[in-house]
């Protein structure tokens, strides 16, 4: 099998403005469909949400000369080449890696998690919110998620300690004991704020406490990890990924490691990160927030490891399911079944892609 084409559709920006904490203004999400074709007629595809369309346009000529004629089975070598041996992974290289695994799955007629070595075929999911303006909106959102089957719920709250305590208490009062609860203030607190919120979350029995401090504050994170019984999880903003994680594990800085696989080098890099965590007997809890394909890329890694508890699904469900015929939805029992089709296992809706495409490269 040889790669014959590398193409991209630059899609319309997402109409929904996204915000995950107060200090960030609402963001516009751009979408690109990257397509890597083979001489067998298969195409590896990934619709992105963290990739700048200008970056894609700039990178395409170089990618074509690096990829065309190669066998996608050389994914480890190709990913190394595109990331300076994983020292400098990028969203672009990560997307290529995901497309290559999709292509490999399609070539072999297998969902990716089986190629990796399946650990299971379903995962418990948690609903992952956007930031709302008011506390009642979070409670309302949790109620809707519970109705849909979710038995775990993560708040992207305001990123302001006192306000976050208020919203966590409110959601806990309504759903504590019925859903596992997590909080992600996206690195917004200082150390005093992080301790103040952590104490409350521990009392409320939250499942984990995510990204309370900047990921660069290793001393602060280590202090939190030692001080609280609830797990501290972080490192999502560490864009270099694998090579940055050891200090968090060897130093007892975090209880579990989080990754944005679509930044740190895709499935190849996530698989290594999961192994690193497993060797340290730590959980690897990558995010899976993003488009359906980005969710799926993470889902497959999670299905092939046992040291991960949850699949993350953005809510309201569907807000990032751009251009898809198939989507990931939480089942009535709070779980999501593995896809059965080859590769990533979720097909695009070509009529929709045609409509959304602004430029084809």
């Amino acid at each position: 099998m040889k790669i014959t084409s590398v193409k991209a559709n630059l899609l319309q920006p997402n109409p929904h403005p996204f915000r995950w904490k107060e200090e960030w203004p609402a963001m516009t999400i751009q979408h690109v469909l990257l397509r890597i074709g083979s001489d067998e007629g298969h195409e590896g595809q990934c619709i992105t949400w963290l990739l700048n369309p200008g970056e894609v346009e700039h990178a395409l000529p170089g990618l074509r000369s690096a990829l065309v004629g190669r066998d996608p089975h050389e994914v480890e070598a190709i990913s190394y080449q595109l990331t300076d041996s994983l020292r400098s992974p990028t969203p672009m290289a990560s997307t290529v890696d995901i497309c290559l695994w999709d292509l490999l799955g399609k070539h072999h007629g297998e969902p990716i998690y089986r190629l990796l070595g399946a650990a299971r075929n379903r995962m418990k999911a948690y609903a992952s919110t956007v930031m709302y303006e008011t506390v009642p909106e979070y409670v309302q959102c949790a109620a809707e998620c519970y109705e849909q089957g979710f038995r775990a719920f993560k708040l992207h709250a305001f990123g302001v300690p006192d306000k976050d305590i208020e919203v966590c208490r409110a959601v806990h009062e309504a759903f504590g004991g019925r859903m596992d609860l997590m909080l992600d203030p996206v690195n917004a607190y200082d150390r005093l704020g992080a301790f103040k919120v952590g104490k409350v979350l521990e009392d409320l029995g939250f499942y984990w406490y995510e990204a309370p401090l900047p990921d660069s504050d290793l001393v602060g994170l280590a202090d939190l990890s030692r001080s609280f019984r609830i797990p501290i999880t972080a490192t999502e903003s560490v864009k270099d990924g694998l090579r940055e994680y050891p200090k968090y594990l060897a130093g007892g800085v975090v209880d579990s490691v989080r990754s944005v696989g679509d930044w740190i080098g895709g499935i190849t890099a996530m698989r290594k990160s999961a192994a690193l965590c497993e060797a340290f007997n730590a959980k690897y809890e990558p995010h899976s927030y993003g488009t359906t394909h980005v969710q799926a890329a993470h889902f497959h890694v999670m299905l092939a490891i046992h040291n991960c508890d949850f699949l993350e699904i953005p809510v309201p469900q569907g807000i990032l399911d751009v251009g898809m015929r198939d989507v990931i939805r939480c089942g009535a029992d709070g779980y999501v079944d593995a896809p059965t089709r080859p590769g990533l296992g979720y097909d695009v809706d070509w009529a929709m892609i045609d409509k959304l495409t602004q430029r084809e490269l």
Binding site: D71, H73, E74, V75, E76, A77, S79, Y80, S85, L86, H108, G109, E110, R114, L115, L116, G117, A118, A119, R120, L242, R243, Y245, P246, L249, A250, T268, R271, K272, S273, A274, A275, L276, E278, A279, F280, N281, A304, I305, H306
Partner: protein, 370 residues
């Protein structure tokens, strides 16, 4: 696809004609290691069979797999390799599975799955290369001259380095290392493997000489469990210290050695560490720390081919280890692993592990089948 049957055939081929019983470390015979094997076959309902020949173990390994692992395998889909591995691993706490049992079975599982997709194993693992630099890895010889002769022979054959299993007697080993370096000249990589036969003072003394002689790595100078001894050596020596291959506990015991920098290079293989899955994971662990994994090989063409597939799928590894004389360590295969004149070992072509088991040999020297 489901596993229907686990067939275990122990066999004991004689040493090849013209070879002596190999010894290591002051005359200890390792004859059994190169002639007491177990062929494992995972037979499925679809007619595809995953198979491998163990590194050592023979009949005792067969009993261990039959009693403790076979029940976990029957009816399973080989796509679920991580799930099966975790089952074997967790239960091992109480089952006291024989060393190599889990690793051998895991290799057969990966062979089976790759065959079901008609793909070479290293390509499923994510390929980096299809050939790997090879070094010759010696047995113990009675004299310095014989080591020198062997080093020169493999250098002339294009091998890219030479590793000596030294005597484990520090003063004699220093003489040996000095003589071999002098004979092969500067610039050609040399390593030694002590297999844990020095005490800490001897290890330091030899290490200092290896530094001066520009040895490429210094392997297992102490017993692998001596974590503090390793740290002491790694602190004091510049020559890269290499170890942990025989530490139990699969990947889970390696972080302490890495994080405290007790070793500079990690050793592991599919037999000791529990198979393809864990070996690939250890490579990821090492890579995160910017370190290399050098894969141990040993007993026969089939299990070594499995090791070679993993090496071909990782970038942070330098060499394939070929024990010599090759005739002693290339039993059980229809063909040997091809080593070219430039000193590269080629991944066997074909689906799965690729290396074909010599079933005629297995049948001829069969001890029993269970």
């Amino acid at each position: 696809m489901k596993i229907r049957e686990v067939k275990l055939t122990s066999f004991r081929p004689p040493l090849p004609a013209g070879t002596d019983v190999p010894t290591l470390y002051g005359g200890q015979s390792i004859g059994a290691y190169v002639s007491d094997f177990l062929a494992v076959q995972l037979i499925t309902d679809e007619g595809i069979t995953g198979e491998v020949v163990s590194a050592y173990g023979g009949l005792s390994l067969a009993h261990s797999i039959a009693d403790r692992l076979r029940p976990l395998l029957i009816g399973r889909d080989p796509a679920y390799r991580e799930a099966i591995w975790q089952d074997m691993w967790r239960r091992d706490r109480l089952l006291y599975t024989t060393q190599f049992a889990i690793g051998t079975v895991d290799v057969a599982l990966w062979d089976l799955y790759a065959k079901s997709l008609n793909a070479p194993l290293y390509q499923l693992l994510g390929g980096v290369r299809d050939k790997v630099p090879v070094y010759a890895s010696s047995m113990e010889h009675p004299s310095i001259e014989l080591f020198v002769e062997e080093a020169l022979k493999y250098k002339a054959m294009g091998y890219q380095a030479y590793k000596m299993h030294v005597w484990g007697d520090a003063r004699r080993d220093i003489e040996l290392c000095t003589a071999v370096r002098k004979a092969v000249g500067d610039g050609w990589p040399l390593m030694i493997d002590v297999a844990g036969n020095y005490n800490q003072q001897q290890a330091l003394m030899v290490g200092k000489v290896l530094e001066e002689l520009d040895y490429h790595w210094y392997e297992e100078p102490l017993r692998d469990f001596d974590l503090h001894g390793y740290r002491y050596l790694a602190d004091k020596l510049d020559v890269p210290i290499c170890g942990v291959e025989v530490v139990g506990g699969s990947m889970y015991t390696t972080p302490e050695y890495i994080a405290t920098r007790a070793v500079d290079i990690v050793r592991a293989d599919v037999s000791f560490k529990g198979g393809i899955g864990p070996l690939k994971k250890i490579a990821g662990l090492c890579e995160a720390f910017g370190m290399n994994l050098e894969v141990h090989t040993n007993a026969n063409t089939i299990i070594d081919a499995a090791n070679l597939h993993v090496i071909a799928s990782i970038a942070n590894s330098e060499y394939f280890e070929q024990l010599v004389p090759e005739a002693l360590f290339t039993l059980a295969g229809v063909e040997k692993i091809r080593i070219d004149g430039e000193g590269f070992a080629h991944v066997p072509p074909g689906p799965g592990i690729g290396a074909r088991i010599d079933w005629e040999l297995v049948e001829r020297y069969k001890v029993c089948e269970i």
